[in-house]
Symmetry: C2
Subunit: 307 residues, 2 copies
């Protein structure tokens, strides 16, 4: 799947991923009204509203954007019905040939980690049958529990040719509380980065590993250090746009081949219609505003990369 | 909810929690057969099998065990249908007045962490309505992202009088890869423990905080150090039984009041019928075997505590 991701990024000349993190407050009123009219102000109504919202955005970006990253928390908060909307979104993105990165940040140990890997990337055995539960292409994983939490994922990745992105240096202001603390003279995130490189060398695609890393756009100098530590890891870069990162901050995350990083924007794309810059589209044309915002983001990043 | 947990532990004289982590291979054949006959070898069939398995165990332990800890990964691997079995299990435990610790190990930042907190401990706003999605009493949380990942949970805990257990030192062999590394002369887990204490003092129940910690039974000397660093945190202790911890290893995790820790056993209780010790019950009476194993565990721990 890393090969497919790289191929799509090259083909569309767009090293970006759109975060499908549909908070209800982003969903245009007319979609909320229609969903609540059909299902009431229920979890099912909320799930229908976010599904219709996602679908319109996907329809407007799939030909220019290689991948989406649905944040499962935004669906999980609407319970079972919300997770049904998550699953519908994953399936629909596959119909549109988009790569799906499940932003699930799971992490546990042994058989439990394996259950998460199976849930999101693999197949579960039920009697004599093997069934695919959620079917993302990649999942994000938390490293705090060490190899016991990661290896069950890499095992499934090898079997299924799927991938993971391990949290290394997150984009949030307090990420330094633990991640930046010095161990033997180097910050914790560099130690995690070195393990990402080690785990990843066991699961290589053509040029990059099935094991990637998450490094926030808000920390470009750390991105440069981590780029060197993990040369074969694709870096998933959150924090562009709404969290403050810009195109020029991102150059450090790429390799000399112009590859090696995929930059995420969530509300900057999906709720573009709420920004002054794209207000001209109007709320009803929110999905066209998303398309324009995606095109502008691609141009910004490619510009910074000198393309 | 920490007050209720402490009250139930005192009342039942049982500082234990049963991990409802139903792998299909633990579910007796007759329950699997019945479920597959009704729903086929499908996710729904698997979900029905684990739900019937859980229900029988709950019916046999609710009067002697204060709390359960369903591990959501074991349900998530069966997709939407599995999560429906998770929700049914949570609701049924509440009917039986058991405290439910959702072992979800979630962790993200800002609005995303808040969405997880709402999903598992709070209420979600849908139009003019507030709806309860999964409704556990406690959730386990991963600290790697720092305060930005924790504070959205403590906010919901304060509103809902619910609680969290933050991963500090996990029970698995490789937990030391990052957690034991020295920072300013102290292992990372002690730094996390100090933050647990700090976060927890903002959310106090009567004697203990709404913010607890996870510390593995397999590391008793670290338990002693952490007990001092976080005097007001309840410690959730996995790793008893199957993972190698025994009653005498656990004394360090308790305070002098005989409280402050709750010890988890999962397959040691729910799959007791597979152990030689309890084989006399037979597979059909698996839930009675679970009851006996729970009684034996309580006696072992209370014995070690000199009760």
């Amino acid at each position: 799947m890393i090969n497919k991701l790289v191929a799509k990024i090259k083909q569309q000349d767009a090293p970006i991923v759109v975060g499908l993190d549909p908070m209800l407050k982003y969903v245009p009123q007319h979609l909320q009204d229609a969903a609540f009219e059909e299902y009431g102000e229920t979890l099912k109504g909320a799930a229908e509203a976010i599904w219709q919202y996602n679908k319109a955005i996907i329809d407007n970006i799939y030909d220019i954007v290689p991948a989406v990253k649905p944040q499962i928390a935004m669906y999980e908060q609407f319970g079972i019905e919300g997770l049904q909307a998550f699953k519908k979104t994953v399936d629909y993105c596959h119909e549109k040939d988009m790569v799906v990165i499940g932003d699930v940040k799971r992490g546990d140990i042994g058989s439990t980690s394996e259950a998460y890997a199976v849930a999101h990337l693999g197949k579960v055995q039920v009697g004599s049958k093997q069934i695919t539960p959620f079917d993302e292409d990649f999942a994000t994983v938390n490293p705090y529990l060490g190899s016991d939490g990661i290896v069950p994922f890499t095992k499934v990745c090898k079997e299924e040719k799927k991938g993971i992105f391990i949290l290394v240096k997150t984009s949030n202001p307090s990420s330094g509380e633990f991640q930046d603390r010095l161990i033997d003279g180097k910050p914790l995130y560099e130690h995690v980065g070195a393990k990402v490189d080690e785990w990843g060398r066991e699961c290589m695609g053509d040029d990059y590993s099935y094991v990637g890393a998450v490094v926030g756009a808000t920390y470009p100098e750390m991105g440069a250090a981590l780029r060197k530590i993990m040369p074969k890891a694709y870096i998933l870069v959150p924090g562009y746009g709404a969290q403050g990162g810009t195109g020029k901050d991102l150059v450090n995350f790429f390799n000399k081949d112009g590859l090696g990083a995929i930059v995420n924007s969530s509300r900057g794309i999906i709720a573009a219609y709420k920004k002054e810059e794209y207000a001209k589209f109007g709320e009803k044309n929110f999905a066209e505003a998303s398309r324009q915002a995606a095109l502008d983001m691609i141009a910004d990043i490619n510009g910074a990369l000198g393309k």
